[in-house]
Amino acid sequence: MSEMPTYTKKDFVPDQEVKWCPGCGDYSILAAIQMVMPKIGKKKEDIVFVSGIGCSSRFPYYMATYGMHTIHGRAPAIATGLKTTNTNLDVWVITGDGDSMSIGGNHLIHAIRRNVDLKIVIFNNEIYGLTKGQYSPTSNVGLVTKSTPYGSIDRAFHPGSLVTGAEATFFARTIDTDVKHMQEVFLKAAAHKGTAVVEVLQNCVIFHDGAHESLSNKEQKEDTTLRLEHGKPLIFGKDKNKGIMIKGMTPEIVTIGENGITEKDIFVHNENVMDPTYTFMLSRFTHPTFPVPLGVFRAVNAPCYDAEVQKQVNAVTEKKGKGDMKALLASGETWTVK
């Protein structure tokens, strides 16, 4: 194998014009991923971006790697076939909230169940952008959209809960307004062996502007979000004095320094607990009742589907020798006519 070249962001920028609306959150996600690529230790030709359909799914056109813009919802399945065929590839799935959790829900949960070694980035703008603004499975109840003039009545998925319920080995959340945090999270996703799901809270300036405003505006964000750091207590707030305690099975927001509570009482974040119950609990933290966790919720090891398939192929080949069609044809009963 030839040596690993040193890349810069530029190596991943193709000559294609980027066609999102000015101000769309997708731009900064693109920038973050282009910046992360040189750091993941993969050759450019071994990286593939696979997407479905949606504004977000235009993404592969904007990466100077191999890429597939596919059909609506099917990217995880297509990526599974690709990765299983060539386990050496680094396969990224780019998808929207509708693409991944509406039409593509089944493929998403099955890719996760199999733990195919894919990095799945969900651009969650809580709306269908490309089709001009219908509500999505992550839109809040009551949202007035083109298809819900009297307000939507479907309850929203919590993406973190859905994927944890589907046996996720890695889940993280980040936000389009924080390019540095995005890079950290993408880098960790890239390092994970198995399906790494990253939810990016993304702003659609045209059809659902401000959906994540309370989590990104400077005034509030320290209080409305919770930065997860492995081995560190769940502390948040402008004054770094709020924390999460777990009583029985119930998480509670407490103030450090009040009622005798000290930092030691605060629950310590651990990405690596095998039991996903803790991940699940974190996935239920929603604004405004709880601070919204950002960072890596969960990163545990489990065998990857694609690698296991390859292992079986290797093991059987080792045992039986490389397949020989002539021998196969002659196996069992044959007879000769003269």
């Binding site: 100077a64 596919t70 099955h110 490389k322 397949g323 044959t334």
Partner: protein
């Protein structure tokens, strides 16, 4: 001809197993249903031979058919073996490719020994040439009767012959009523036994229905046998092996993305055994994912395969359209079954031709080929793989339940004839500064195939309309029209890469019979039979459906009339008429059953009469 129109079944078991009665019931029911029959009961020589031994085997053979049956048949098509001894005693008489229904409950070490088997014959290769239906006839019978607490278990056990009979009744759609009536009379004084035996009969029938039991009684069209080494093969196995061979010949690993469905699942079962051939099988969450995964594999450089039957293929339309738009190689196998909707999963039909040709949005041409018989599946599957890889396009291979499960002798092919598929793969890193143009074409309009891992060829593909050569998204009206024509013409040019249409009989005449797919055995035999009577009829059995061989137009012109025989309401007839404007008529049957030669002979003669009268 009589063999071809008939089926021979042999019921065989211990002398205490009631095989004579079972066989008689099957015969009587068949006679009542209008079949001609011939039977051959064959008792053990000794009055009380030891149970479980060969000497104790009692058999009853019946030959049923639509027309004159003169003998009980030479080789049984189906053997019911109630124990290992029955198997051992009869398996050599069984026709190659026949079906064995085994009572697994009696397949234990004690009985193997009694029958003179070293171990379980089902675990060895000695039965490879047969289809096996494993049924737990004894325990299932007991279980079916478990609520009848007043009946002792010995009496219950005695009902198992009716369970076995029930299985055969489902498979050959026999009417249950006559046997139920017989049971009622026979046990008039013991109502409990009436109930028990009827329950057992139905349990067996339902079991066969539940597990979608299928028996193909594929008949071999007469032909002179060429010298060579032969083996038995069924269609699904042939399909699997043909694709493995295409993988070997192209150097591209075989990837199958599929989802189980009758009668296509066996291709998955077969391919999953061949990991040492580099085959990767992926049982997906559904048919869409199955097809999608294959498309991903194709982009990754595999010989990509997805297999299913009608309802599953209906789900793949959008994804096949994407593969067509990508211009990636993809083999789609449709093992057709009775439709519409869930239809008749275990029965055969040819009613998916229209869906195959037209079941996608937009102008979306794909190559379509069809296998003509079980031993043609290897070849046509290889062809599907070859055409997909050499022409960078989806190819649909049509087979059907009849030939997929049907078995016949197959002359082992000379693998040298199946060894050179020249893919469009780009190998090695890119040199030179020019941009890679993934949709630049050769004179067959085929593009190149650069796969991830190849340095310098990084490119993106998508389902939106593409600019010529570069493949970039293009909304330009003129470009769109051009691309639609290019994709159409690309498939049309495949015609130069397939063999000429063969004609059975003379190149001109009064009547041209056209058939396609799994009906070859019947149409071939029927046409030959009518020709023997000196009539001017020929057969064009089409294996390359889209595009069709270029000489077909000329062939059609050589005949006064065209008759298209197919197991649907006239789908190929319509295609022929719209392409060749030849006023073809159809002979159609939609019963979930294959053609009988006799019916075809009748219709061919009738059409010949009509032609004369005109």
């Amino acid at each position: 001809m009589k063999e071809v129109e008939s089926v021979v079944i042999r019921f065989s078991g211990d002398s205490g197993d009631g095989m004579q009665l079972t066989g008689t019931q099957f015969s009587n029911t068949s006679a009542l249903m209008g079949n001609d029959i011939s039977t051959f009961p064959d008792f053990p020589a000794e009055i009380r031979a030891p149970q479980g031994t060969i000497a104790g085997v009692s058999g009853f053979q019946v030959n049923i058919g639509a027309t004159h049956i003169n003998t009980p048949g030479d080789e049984p098509d189906v053997l019911v073996a109630m124990n290992p001894a029955a198997l051992k005693a009869n398996v050599h008489a069984l026709k190659k490719g026949g079906t064995i229904i085994c009572n697994m409950d009696a397949f234990d070490d004690r009985n193997f020994e009694k029958a003179g088997y070293k171990g379980n014959p089902l675990d060895t290769h000695e039965l490879d040439a047969y289809q096996i239906i494993k049924a737990q006839i004894t325990t299932q019978t007991m279980e079916a009767l478990k609520d009848m607490t007043e009946l002792d278990s010995k009496s219950k056990g005695r009902c198992k012959n009716f369970y076995a009979l029930g299985i055969t009744y489902f498979i050959f759609h026999r009417d249950l009523a006559p046997t139920e009536k017989f049971i009622a009379q026979q046990f008039a004084k013991k109502p409990m036994l009436i109930e028990a035996n009827v329950k057992a009969l139905r349990a067996g029938y339902n079991y066969a229905e539940t597990i979608e039991a299928q028996v193909s009684t594929y008949k071999i069209p007469p032909a002179k046998i060429e010298p060579g080494t032969y083996r038995q093969i069924n269609g699904n196995t042939g399909t699997a092996w043909g694709l493995i061979q295409a993988s070997m010949a192209s150097g591209r690993p075989l990837f199958q993305g599929t989802y189980p469905i009758t009668p296509a699942s066996d291709i998955l079962h077969e391919l999953s055994k061949y990991k040492h051939f580099g085959v990767k099988t992926f049982q997906a969450e559904d048919e869409i994912a199955a097809c999608a995964s294959a498309i991903g594999a194709a982009y990754g450089g595999a010989l990509a395969l997805t297999t299913s039957s009608g309802p599953g293929i209906a789900l793949k339309g959008e994804a096949i359209g994407l593969a067509m738009m990508y211009e990636l190689p993809l083999v789609v196998v449709n093992v057709q079954r009775g439709g519409p909707s869930t239809g008749l999963p275990t029965k055969t039909e040819q009613s998916d031709l229209n869906m195959t040709l037209y079941g996608r949005n937009g102008e979306c041409p794909v190559i379509v080929v069809a296998a003509s018989r079980p031993n043609d599946c290897f070849h046509m599957a290889y062809e599907a793989g070859r055409l997909a890889l050499e022409h960078m396009t989806p190819v649909v291979l049509l087979t059907d339940g009849y030939i997929a499960n049907g078995t016949e002798p197959w002359k082992l092919p000379d693998l040298a004839q199946y060894s050179k598929i020249k893919t469009k793969l780009i190998e090695g890193a890119k040199t030179g500064e020019d941009k890679y143009l993934p949709y630049k074409r050769d004179d067959k309009l085929v593009r190149t195939w650069a796969i991830p891992g190849t340095p310098g060829y990084e490119h993106r593909i998508g389902g939106l309309e593409k600019a010529e050569d570069s493949g970039n998204v293009s909304y330009d009206p003129g470009n769109h029209e051009k691309m639609v024509h290019i994709r159409q013409e690309k498939i049309a040019r495949v015609a130069s890469d397939i063999p000429d249409q063969e004609v059975v009989g003379d190149k001109t005449g009064d009547l041209l019979v056209i058939s396609w797919g799994g009906t070859f055995g019947a149409t071939y035999s029927a046409v030959n039979e009518v020709r023997k009577a000196g009539k001017k009829v020929s057969l064009a059995h089409i294996r390359y459906i889209n595009p069709m061989p270029t000489n077909l137009a000329e062939i059609i012109k050589g005949f006064k009339k065209v008759l298209v025989c197919e197991l649907n309401l006239g789908q190929m007839r319509d295609v022929i008429n719209s392409r060749y404007h030849c006023n073809a008529v159809g002979y159609n049957k939609v019963q979930g059953l294959p053609f009988k030669i006799s019916e075809l002979v009748t219709v061919i003669n009738k059409e010949l009469e009509n032609t004369k009268l005109q």
